[in-house]
Amino acid sequence: MNSNHSYERYQRQIILKEFGEAGQEKLLQAKVLVIGAGGLGCPALQYLVAAGVGTIGIVDDDVVILNNLQRQVLYSVNDIGLSKAERAASILQQLNPDIKITAYNERLITQNALTIINAFDIIIDGTDNFSTRYMINDACVLVNKPLVFGAVSQYEGQLAIFNCKKKGKRSEETVNYRDVFPQPPKEGEVLNCADAGVLGVLPGIIGTMMANETIKLITGIGEPLINQMLTYNALTNQVYQLTLAARKETRSLIPEDKAEFLQTDYEWLCTSQGQELEIDANTFDNIVGIGSIDIIDVREPGEMPVINEFSHIKIPLARLTESISLIKSDTVVAFCQSGKRSLQAAKILSGIFGEAKKIYSLRGGIVQWKHHQAKQPV
C-alpha cells in the first residue's frame, strides 16, 4: 500500500487487528472471478470491489430485464436490455476506480471455461442453473481453484467453499460439489428461481456471505466454510451447518483432463429437451433468412416491444393449443420477452407435432435478440 489515498479508502478494515495492511495488500493482489452477475453476483461483487480485491472478472451473457431488479440491486431501469457483465463492470468501476475489472459478456461454456477460470485465484459461483454449476465445479477441480459456492431457492440459501484445503492441512482431501450431490438433477426435478420464486433479499444475504468467505480465504482470517455447507432460512433465521466429506467415487464423475472436459455436454446431463429446442439470436437470424417458417409471438397482446423487423403470427401462450391450425410451415420458432414462455410453447408444440415439424424457441427472448441486433454492424 503506497498511497494515502488507498489507505483512506480501506482504513476501516485496515485498522482491524487480524486484517491490517497485510490483509489489504493480499486483497489488492487477489484475482477473483464472479460467474453470474445476478442475485448472488451483484452483492458479492459490490463488497469485493468495495473491499479492494485488485482484479475482478465478471462472466454473464444475460441482459438486464425488469424482473431482475427485485433482487439484482446493481442495476436500474435504465439498464434493461443491456449486458449484465458490462453494466456491472461499469457501475462497479465507479465505486472503485483503483482496481481492474474485466467483463466477459459471454456464456461460460466448456470451450471458454478453463481459460477464463485459469486467469483467476478464486472462483465464485453465482449462476442460476445446474448445468453451469456442475461445469464450474468440474473445471475448478481440474485446474485446482477454490470455489465459493452459493445457491438460493424460495426462502433458503446454501453456502460452501469447495476444492480448497484448510490452512495448515495440506494433506487433507478437498471436497467438491459432487461429493455432496454427485449427479446433476434432470430438468424439472428441482425447480429454479424462475419457477419456484425467491425472496429478493435472500440472494442479497447469501451473496454478501459469499463475499465474506472470499475475503476470509484471501486474507487468511477467521474460519472459512471449507468442507462445510451452511444453510440459511430467511423465514426462521435458522442456520444449519453440515460437515462434508470427500467420496471415493466422486473423482470418476469428473472429467480426467482438459480433452475430456471439452467433450462433456453439461447441458445434456441436466435435461436436455429444453436446450435442444432453444436457438440463439444468431441461429434465429439464419433461420429467418431461409423463409418458409412460422414465427410465433406467444406474448399477450400489447406487450412491448412491438416487432416489425420480421413477419410473424401472434398466438398468446394460453391460446396456443386451440390455435395450432394457424401453424402451417414445417419449421416453427416461438419467441416471447425472455425466452421462458416461448420454451414452454415449444415444448407444447413438440408434444403436438412430434417429429412432423422442427420446433424452436428463441433463447433469451426478443430482449436478447434486440440487444444482439444492436451489436450487428449496419
Partner: protein
C-alpha cells in the same frame, strides 16, 4: 424393548422437500439410516423420487449409519438459484 420404544430421531427437512413432508418430522424405531429412509418413503412416497443429501448430526453420510436416541437427521436438496 423399553429403550427401543423411547428411541426418537428428528428429521429436519430443507428446501422444497418440506412441500412433500409438510415440515420437519420425528420418527421412532429407526435403528439406522437405511431403515429411516425406508420408513420415510413409506410415509411420503414422493420422497423416493426426490434428490437430497442426508446428514446425521450435521455430518453428511453416504453409507448406512446407525442411529441412536435424539439423533438429528437432515435432508438437503440441491438448489440452483442465483
Amino acid at each position: 424393548m423399553l429403550i427401543k420404544q423411547l428411541m426418537k430421531v428428528d428429521v429436519i427437512i430443507f428446501g422444497q422437500l418440506t412441500e412433500i413432508t409438510n415440515g420437519s418430522i420425528s420418527l421412532s424405531d429407526v435403528p439406522d439410516t437405511d431403515s429411516l429412509v425406508k420408513e420415510l418413503h413409506k410415509l411420503y412416497p414422493a420422497l423416493a423420487d426426490a434428490k437430497y443429501v442426508m446428514a446425521v448430526n450435521k455430518q453428511v453420510v453416504v453409507e448406512n449409519t446407525a442411529l441412536t436416541d435424539k439423533n438429528t437427521v437432515a435432508l438437503l436438496p440441491p438448489f440452483s438459484g442465483g
